[in-house]
């Protein structure tokens, strides 16, 4: 079951990369986080780790509901440009995305085989994909979505490769994430939403 959710996670991320409208991008991010949370839950059930269950629930609440909502709210409030065309052409992305996936599998090849080997490569791939998501948009909101996807990739890695980080650290990461959103608010408050 985890495999399925992770697959969905990746595909929603890739779809998000090709999106050209801001609100839809935010929506895709919410879906993306949702699948991440589901994957985490199924994994938590599999290894019976309560801590991971909690963080999965937190993900569900925070990343797939609260943060997308806040972002949407900000976008409306600050009248962000809603048409976001990626600066990288689709033709290139068609080459780039598979190349990244192939590269990460190649990169991970020397690792001593374990259950998580493939997940690690997928996590690294989603890291790179999120980076591309950040690169391809000049819009600040889209960049923030990219950053949040990056966070998701981290969570994916933590969840699959290490069977969950120590709880304290996970909580710390969430706190920082919230802090980041607060800062974002402050930054948006002033002026232009373009970088």
């Amino acid at each position: 079951m985890t495999n399925f959710f992770i697959g969905m996670f990746l595909s929603t991320l890739i779809t998000a990369m090709l999106t050209t409208r801001l609100y839809r991008l935010i929506a895709w991010y919410a879906v993306n986080s949702l699948f991440l949370a589901l994957a985490a839950m199924s994994e938590a059930v599999r290894i019976q780790d309560e801590a991971m269950l909690i963080s999965a629930l937190l993900t569900l609440v925070l990343k797939s509901a609260l943060i997308p909502y806040l972002l949407k709210h900000f976008a409306v409030k600050f009248q962000a440009e809603r048409n976001i065309t990626p600066s990288i052409k689709v033709q290139y992305l068609i080459i780039l995305i598979p190349a990244i996936l192939v590269f990460t599998f190649y990169l991970i090849d020397p690792i001593i085989a374990g259950a998580a080997k493939n997940y690690i490569s997928l996590a690294i791939a989603s890291l790179f994909l999120s980076l591309v998501l950040m690169i391809e948009h000049r819009n600040v909101f889209a960049k923030v979505i990219g950053f949040l996807s990056l966070e998701n990739a981290l969570f994916l890695l933590a969840m699959t490769a290490t069977e969950g980080m120590p709880m304290l650290i996970e909580l710390g990461i969430f706190v920082d994430l919230l802090m980041a959103v607060v800062i974002l608010n402050l930054l948006f408050k002033k002026e232009a939403s373009h970088v």
Partner: protein, 467 residues
Amino acid sequence: MFEALFLPPLAILLLSFLDIAKIKRFLPIVSAAIFIPVLFLFASDHILYYHDLIAVDKLAKFVLLVSSVVSIGVTLALESLEKHVAIDAKDYKRFYRFFALFWIGMIISVAANSMGIFWVGLELATLSTVYMIKTNKSAFAHHEAWNYMIVGTIAIALILFGIILIYAAAKPAIGEEAMLFSALGAHIHQIRNSYLFEIGFAFVAVGSFVKMGFFPMNLWLANIERAAYYPVAALFSGLLESAIMVGFFRFAHIAKKLNESHLIGFTYIYALLTLFIVAFLIYRAKDFMRLFSLSGVEHMVLIAIFWVSGGYFAALLHFAAHAFLKPALFISTGVLESKGKYHIAGALRGYKGVKGTLFFILVGFFMLAIIGLPPSPIFFSEIFGFGAMVEMAKASHHLLLMFGAIAFMLLLLAVIFYKFVEVYQSMKYEGSEEPKEVYASEMSALALFAIALLALLVSFDYIEHIV
């Protein structure tokens, strides 16, 4: 004892929310109080706290001590910030609020024994600085704050990614303890998946290097410091970079045990590229801020490379000396640039009175000390650091290649040296003599840093025994 460290910043945080008129006077005093618990730490031999998550070892104590001195200096200088730039009381308080958060993040990351805790602290410190940059209300600063936000968070995310990979590599062998630096260091050779560890280390290193403005992010940091008010730049170079550096120290120490040649090859290539770019950017620098922040990058490179070459003493000495010198120089830019940003010529002329003369002398000393002229501690740290590098080169299999790299590095440092000499002469002897004002708070900050530098000169023995 360790918890006491958090009291002063928490106090600042609370006070900054109160609406008292005189609060502005009160805040620096509270922040100076940071120094006291740090001193108490030295008295106790207790190292591990909270299930080993926190380790106040000698390195952490040393860094905390250095950082507290720096922050006292910076808060002293903050007193006269309003005289150089337009800033209102509300901004002031908000600045202090984030300064408190920053300190909490600093303390956590420096004293962390757990990689995760280290990261949490670092992220906290980074995010709080974003707002500190924003204190300056110019469009340029806004833009750079965004830049900082985006790149900084990417870098931090990379570090976390690396930490998770390292944890993943070590967990099968060590268990849950794998998150702790101490456990990793002790059981490093049990790790079977060393490749995964190295990949993780690469992520951590790239993340920290990006954060410190190494190749290819050199101008990124310089622009941010240019955009921020000068005390923020001082905090950046004196504290935040120190925190990242400490993390790099700890990670590199472990990576070195695993595979020294990979670590050294990686760091040397990175350092050479960075120095090359930085040296020539410095050669073209036209204002004090960029000059100093680029030179900060240069010194970070040196510290990193001394450390991986085994010159621990040199790295720490350099680290401390730089942590004192660079904030001092950044603080003095407030005065030096009081006649405009690009007025290097004659910047050090026109100081009258006792304060002025003292400022003139001290800034002259700092300028010369930063390029490693004796008796600056940087002179000794560079000598010992390059000694360690040569030592390592002699033991390596690629003797001539390593010597070539070292000689090239020294020549690049000579280019930087040339620029600094040029700037020094130009600020002292060229241009016209325009009267400039120096305030007591800045002066006392500079004096504090000067005393700290002198103290460094007599504490070689102590520093030598840290690692």
